[in-house]
């Protein structure tokens, strides 16, 4: 099971369920996956994240849980496909290029957090 992956809608449902488990009144919000329409999520971490969502939601001093997904590497290189489309839907030419995107790191989300437990593996490990 360690190498399997979870469907994106299933990942989202799992997190919502984990937040509501035993305390349906607690609010839950997920940010950062809005642009993904189809994706497979690493199963090993999916379980750990579910556990963390449930753990925080179960705290009496927590009213709502936010789950934010952001690039860990703050500069990501993306392939860009520029397609010319003909009237019949075919493409007479496409250009493929790249663009680097700079992202803020996790510190932008951690202001005012009294305790931060970093459970991430070192970069290069999973």
């Amino acid at each position: 099971m360690r190498l399997m992956h979870t469907k994106l809608p299933e990942f989202i449902a799992k997190m919502k369920n984990a937040a509501k488990k035993g305390q349906p009144e607690k609010a839950f919000a997920l940010r950062g996956l809005e642009n993904l329409k189809s994706a497979k999520m690493q199963s090993l971490r999916t379980g750990r994240i579910e556990e963390a969502v449930a753990e925080l939601a179960s705290r009496p001093d927590v009213e709502r849980v936010e789950l934010i997904v952001m690039p860990r590497v703050p500069e990501t290189m993306h392939t860009v496909v520029i397609k010319g489309i003909a009237a019949d839907g075919s493409s007479p030419k496409a250009v493929v290029d790249v663009v680097n995107i700079l992202h803020p790191t996790e510190e932008v989300e951690l202001e005012n957090c009294r305790e931060v437990e970093d459970r991430r593996p070192a970069i290069g490990r999973h």
């Binding site: 590497v73 703050p74 500069e75 992202h103 790191t105 510190e107 202001e111």
Partner: protein, 342 residues
């Protein structure tokens, strides 16, 4: 209490141009004078400012190169991005690589004849060695909102998305509190010029010798002049730039072959009466130069060569670049600040 002397360009407005984060320049000699190491200095600055900030440490005994291959005195040796006192452990800091001197590198990077002739024995730093990075990202450090990019010559707040260009010569003037700097918008000419790079291993922008003198790294035709046009910048007094360009020309560097074909280099060479290798300038580079009014006829126009003092006196008139600029004392733009040390 012990304190560290730094220069600070504070977030806010100068000449109606927005400085998107706190910008700190530190002379490594001041770190030594405070009796601390770089790590403690950077953490003290980040903690004291508690803001998104970029921090550059300089070695004034070293030398570096501009993106168009002009060698100058002083170099940035380490860059940091910090936010609310935190420095990202993986991506917040990078040191520049010291380039070993050899005849081989002079053959591969002909602009370094300036090093041999003018600055023998001085340490050379440009960008970082990619092997020292945790993954091969661009020459950038990021912590939270703060980003310090292109080996510490452009900084931005990634959340507000506001940016400022800080070419190395302007930084040097701010660090030393010498003369005036120009605070303005980068404009079309510099936007084109920063693409006219030279081939460098561990360069400021590129880690390998990807683009040679006479080529353009932009390669985007008429769009090149728009890329950084409206981004604020703080640049050196044009006479300072002209002086260093004339040094390179005196050392036998040919614009378009040994040093980059940026508008500033070409305009100084034209009026200084220095030879240029216009035939070696690539078509794509010409396209970008012509989009800002620098064409072959303009460069081949016969003008009476100026002496060094004459050219220095007319640098503002003869070197194009920077829009809506105002000359301000470097010591006012970058204020001397004491960082308390515990």
């Amino acid at each position: 209490m012990n304190a560290l002397q730094v220069k600070l360009i504070a977030e806010g407005r100068i000449n109606d141009k927005f400085i998107p984060l706190d910008i700190v320049f530190v002379d490594k000699r001041d770190i030594a004078a405070a009796g601390i190491d770089d790590d403690k200095a950077i953490r003290a600055i980040a903690g004291h400012l508690n803001s998104p900030c970029g921090i550059n440490i300089f070695d004034l005994d070293a030398v570096t190169t501009t993106s168009d291959g002009i060698m100058i005195e002083g170099a940035i040796v380490e860059m940091t991005a910090a936010d609310r006192g935190k420095i990202n452990a993986d991506f917040g800091r990078l040191s520049m690589a010291r380039i070993p001197y050899s005849e081989e590198i002079l053959a591969l990077e002909p602009h370094l004849k300036q090093w041999k002739k003018r600055y023998p024995g001085r340490a050379l730093y440009r960008g970082p060695n990619p092997a020292t990075k945790i993954i091969p990202v661009h020459n950038v450090v990021i912590s939270g909102r703060a980003s310090n990019n292109n080996s510490a010559t452009e900084m931005m707040n990634i959340v507000t998305m506001e940016e400022i260009l800080l070419p190395i010569l302007g930084q040097m003037q701010c660090l030393k509190g010498e003369g005036n700097v120009l605070v303005g918008n980068t404009g079309a000419v510099i936007s084109v010029g920063i693409g006219m790079t030279v081939a460098e291993q561990f360069g400021r922008v590129f880690p390998t010798r990807q683009f040679k003198a006479g080529e353009t790294a932009h390669g985007s035709g008429e769009y090149a002049k728009t890329l950084k046009k409206n981004i604020p910048c703080i640049v050196a007094d044009k006479a300072v730039l002209a002086g260093y360009i004339m040094n390179a020309l005196d050392d036998g560097c040919l614009p378009g072959r040994d040093i980059g074909c940026s508008p500033a280099v070409l305009c100084v060479a034209k009026h200084y009466g220095a030879p240029m290798d216009l035939d070696n300038i690539a078509g794509r580079a010409w396209e970008e130069l012509e989009s800002v009014g620098i064409n072959r006829a303009f460069l081949e126009e016969r003008v009476a060569p100026l002496s060094r003092p004459e050219l220095l006196a007319r640098a503002d008139e003869l070197i194009p670049g920077v829009e809506d600029a105002r000359a301000l004392p470097a010591a006012e733009v970058a204020r001397a600040v004491e960082i308390p040390l515990a």
